[in-house]
């Protein structure tokens, strides 16, 4: 497997980067944008894996939960593609750990620059000019995003090159690397559970004229305690082979019941 011949060409990378635009439209709660990743990588993976069973193993690996800022995600999938090209099915665990470990931090950078910083600055300019009937700010806003859009395929190349470099430098130490990088993944999951899952309790207690909200009490004991509990319970249920679709239906019913009795608020 460790021959120096490249299976993946620049053309394949460009193809994957164009297919990547499906991105967020496939987002769902149980696998994130995993199916978009499968779709974008499929032609390249088909070239790598001649054997159908190996291909299925790789696709199943990519069907696991993954969600990353679509502008920077190609850095990750470019790198893991390079790894699969060089080492095949042996690296699937490493691929999964890298994807899990890097998706949070890269989303952190991407989201804050592309979805918060740039729209806030450019939007303020475009908005204040537009209010007096001047469209120039709007065109600048749009122009900058079009420019960024045109640069996006380059991310794939960047990721692919770093992935190739990583694999060749790791060599036989791959198992140790896979094991160690899972620590990064687990730490990041611990963080995004606290930052992404939101549950707000609406109940308030009136006590001799002073109202105390239950949410405040919870926050003082442990912030984000409810997201942690919910994630833990879901994890336990999944371990007991409860079907994902039942969990989703269950959460929706639970949320609506909670909203009806005022336990939860939006």
């Amino acid at each position: 497997m460790s021959d120096t011949k490249n299976i993946i060409t620049k053309h394949d990378l460009l193809r994957a980067s164009l297919r990547h635009y499906l991105g967020v439209s496939t987002f769902n709660y149980d696998t994130g944008i995993a199916s978009a990743i499968v779709w974008e990588l499929y032609p390249a993976l088909r070239k790598i894996y001649k054997n159908d069973d190996e291909l299925v193993a790789s696709l199943d690996n990519h069907f696991k939960y993954y969600n990353c800022n679509p502008w920077l995600s190609p850095i990750i999938t470019g790198a893991t593609l390079a790894m699969e090209e060089k080492s095949g099915n042996k690296v699937l665990n490493a691929v999964q750990n890298i994807k899990t470990g890097l998706m949070g931090p890269l989303s952190g950078i991407g989201d804050s620059i592309i979805w918060v910083m740039m729209p806030t600055i450019l939007g303020a300019i475009a908005g204040s000019m537009g209010k007096v009937g001047n469209p120039i700010g709007m065109w600048i806003f749009l122009g900058i995003y079009v420019l960024c859009f045109l640069l996006r395929p380059y991310m794939y190349l960047l990721g692919y090159r770093s992935g190739t470099a990583l694999v060749s430098s790791l060599g036989s130490k791959l198992n140790a690397f896979t094991d160690a990088v899972s620590i990064l993944g687990i730490t990041v999951i611990g963080a995004i559970v606290a930052s992404t899952v939101t549950i707000k309790v609406g109940w308030k207690f009136a006590n001799s004229g002073v109202t105390i909200s239950a949410q405040n009490i919870l926050d003082q004991i442990c912030p984000a305690v409810l997201p942690a509990i919910v994630t833990y319970v879901l994890y336990k249920l999944l371990k007991k082979k409860v079907k994902m679709s039942w969990l989703i239906v269950g959460i929706i019913i639970f949320s609506m019941l909670g909203a009806a009795i005022g336990l939860f608020k939006a």
Binding site: S35, V38, N67, L184, T231, I248
Partner: protein, 271 residues
Amino acid sequence: MGLTGMQVVLITLLAYVYNLDRYSTQIAGKVTILWGALTGFVLGDFKQGLEIGATLQLMSLGVSNLGGASMPDYGVAAIISTAIASTTGKGMAAGLAIGIPVGMLVMNLDVVVKIFNSYIARRAQTYADRKEFGKMRKIIPVATVIYPLEAALPVFLAVVFGKPVVEAVLNFMPKWFTVGLNVAGGMLPAVGFAMLLLYMPLSKYGYWLIVGFVLTAFLKVPIMGIALLGVAAAVRQYKALTEKNNSIDNSKNSSLEPNASGLTKEDMEDE
């Protein structure tokens, strides 16, 4: 002034394209002002569209949907507000009065669409497991095509039937339903994370969950800082593991002929 059939089609199409871009190519999803201006252009009043778009752009500043969270859809609000404002002739205030509620309606529909996407993703994986790769490739983009309807349908209804129907729809939906969907939208990402944890070596390194959680929940450390810490921990573990392996290799090498351990490893993998 009513809308011509052509204008209704164009505005609905505009809403579709807006949402399609927002969730796929992601060029102008945040350029709220553009969608107001384009709607104005379709209706022959570019300037009013620009001004309404600009107002909503300023309202949306600092509000963002990260990690798949739901937020009011300002682009849809811009399209409808402009359409209503120029058809009723009552100006920006009348437009915003409908545009923003419909933007909220789209936000609620968003949760429904994401649940529908689960179904498509699961079907796709079933096809993959059955080695029906052609079917797998065909079903995944269905999500991309369906998703924009969450914007196109409400816009179509709002521009065709106007305020009474929008209000009727909004009033018809009970509070427990809309609030419940919102609450579910906040809670559902936990399913994905729980799923992810199934594949991680928790018995070995599960305690790192606590580190990530505490740093975020209590100390509000940005994700980048937590990742750097995770990298440091991973480097330490990697060094510990490779040193242990090296010492084993060395001891083996001293008793066996050189390269023996490497060969046996490969042989075992072939079998």
